[in-house]
């Protein structure tokens, strides 16, 4: 039993990171109706920004208490990646705004490859250790469970960011404009909304969350390389589809489900008779099932509108 709870917890920690990435996919889909396949690479850039910030500001960060240090790294790399996300949209997607959606989708794959290989050129192709800003201590000795400080920070940060996002989307003017734009871009422009600004904001917000995900992921699995964004990115994409693409709570739920399922399959591989190496395939089995049986996703609604 305690092993099950342990696996469940591990799954939730991992899932909360998938959820952060999935939120960006779903928000961008909401305003532009396309899947930004370069999103997973922004997640990678987030981790590398964290690494380089650590190299640049190492002595300063070391002098600070660790919670302050991790907060600084997190906030700075979120801000930098938000700017990068806005830049990507401006350079690659905005010129295609009135073109068929397939063109944008193919461009997104191109942008993704460009970031990965530029990353290889700039950061190097080898694995690099991510600095341990969060002390390696075990905080959960209860009933034989192992919960590290890193895991606590990961889940607390992820939850805080999701609450913050919900506040922005539901309670602020910009959030209302995001929702209005995703429902009807023509009508939102007739209300005086500058749709381009809202789209930029959405990219910035999604990229910031991906960057946070990157830092948290690198804290859990402290070895990073330029292609690290591909698998988590794809899994988060599946999470967004699972929750109902365009649906924000759905993306969070989808992320948690993918994380937990993947961890349980790996943890009980001997019982299930599935080698634990298949853990990465779990998300894609879920994708196939959801597309077959509930293509609108768990929380996605088939929208009916009266005319």
């Amino acid at each position: 039993m305690s092993q099950f709870i342990q696996q469940l917890l591990n799954g939730l920690f991992l899932g909360s990171i998938y959820a952060l990435i999935a939120l960006g996919y779903t928000m961008v889909y909401g305003v532009l109706r396309f899947i930004n396949f370069a999103h997973g690479d922004v997640f990678m850039l987030g981790a590398f920004t964290g690494l380089y910030l650590n190299k640049l500001m190492g002595p300063i960060l070391a002098a600070l208490p660790w919670p302050v240090a991790i907060l600084i790294v997190l906030v700075l790399s979120m801000a930098i990646c938000a700017a990068l996300g806005i830049l990507i949209e401006w350079l690659a997607y905005r010129p295609l705004r009135d073109k068929p959606r397939l063109n944008v989708l193919i461009t997104a794959i191109g942008v993704s490859l460009l970031i990965e290989y530029t990353g290889q050129l700039v950061f190097g192709a080898t694995q690099q250790p991510f600095p341990a800003i969060i002390p390696k201590v075990n905080v959960g000795g209860l009933g034989g469970l192992t919960v590290t400080m890193t895991q606590v920070i990961v889940s607390v940060t992820a939850v805080a960011l999701m609450i913050g996002l919900r506040f922005i989307v539901m309670k602020t003017k910009m959030g209302m404009a995001m929702r209005a734009l995703s429902l009807n871009p023509t009508a939102s422009s007739l209300m005086g909304v500058n749709n381009s600004v809202v789209i930029s904001f959405t990219f910035g917000l999604g990229s910031a969350l991906a960057a946070a995900g990157g830092i948290l992921y690198a804290s859990l699995y402290p070895s990073i390389e330029p292609f690290m964004g591909i698998l988590p990115g794809l899994k988060a994409f599946v999470a967004a589809v699972l929750g109902g693409i365009g649906n924000i709570p759905g993306a969070a739920l989808g992320g948690l489900i993918i994380g937990v399922t993947e961890t349980l399959v790996a943890g009980y591989s001997d019982v299930l008779g599935i080698p634990s190496g298949y853990r990465d395939g779990v998300a894609f089995v879920i994708l196939i099932l959801i597309l077959l049986f509930k293509p609108s996703g768990l929380l996605g609604k088939v929208e009916r509108e009266k005319v």
Binding site: A187, S189, L190, M191
Partner: protein, 235 residues
């Protein structure tokens, strides 16, 4: 207040407007009637910046606003209630109205206009927390008009407010359109297929046919015009 000169619009290689000119004087209700496909909606969409015109001029308050982006035109106080209402289906009635006031920062004024919207259409108050998409067509039209009023426009363009709406609601909506014009002094450009109704509340009218202005006259005269009677007023 609103002046359009020789407006030409094309969709690809198809010309939709062949040089439409019209004038909407301050404080008046002017109507634009015509059959399906005559270019009525296209005219409004070109004025409000939803589509680009190929040539011609749109002047508002003496200022050239031709081909400005839609969000900048709203900011100038010219608001367009589009065909098909386009309410934000998943937002509540209140959120829809607040979207109407998107560009405003005067909280007290917005609260006042929210109250005014509910006085104008009490049904909206009953449904304040309901998702707009779940309301009837007539209620959505009320919401679309009230949402436009929330932007505090000086000129309002209404596209087919009677389309697909129960006759009883049409009457109350048109009464409110007149009230908006009289009490709030908002200039109105009304596009309608229901020419009878439109000519009854407007001062001046234009008849559009296949992208051209066929006739223009006072609404009174248009109602008596045999050509108009036969084509648009059912004989």
């Amino acid at each position: 207040m609103l002046e359009i000169e020789n407006l030409e619009v094309s969709y690809g290689s198809i010309k939709a407007l062949h040089g439409v000119s019209l004038k909407v004087p301050q404080g008046s209700i002017v109507t634009l009637i015509g059959a399906n496909g005559a270019g009525k909606s296209t005219t409004l969409r070109a004025i409000s910046g939803l589509i680009k015109s190929r040539s011609g001029k749109v002047k508002y308050d003496g200022e050239d606003i031709t081909n400005l982006p839609a969000h900048k035109i709203v900011a100038k106080g010219l608001c367009h209630v589009p065909e098909g209402r386009m309410v934000f289906a998943n937002l509540t009635v209140e959120e829809n109205l607040r979207m109407g006031a998107y560009l405003r920062n005067d909280k007290a004024g917005v609260a006042e206009d929210l109250e005014f919207s509910f006085q104008m259409f009490p049904r909206l108050k009953e449904r304040i927390y309901q998702a707009a998409g779940t309301m009837s067509g007539g209620e959505q039209q009320m919401l679309a008009i009230a949402r436009a009023i929330m932007s505090k426009p000086r000129c309002l363009m209404l596209d087919e407010p009677s389309l697909g709406i129960a006759p009883m609601l049409v009457r109350s909506i048109f009464e409110q359109i007149v009230a908006i014009n009289k009490e709030r002094g908002i200039t109105i450009l009304l596009v309608e297929q229901n020419a009878n109704l439109a000519l009854a509340i407007s001062k001046h009218g234009y008849v559009l046919e296949t992208g051209n202005v066929l006739l223009e006259d006072t609404s009174e005269a248009l109602r008596k015009n045999p050509q108009v009677r036969e084509a648009y007023l059912g004989g």
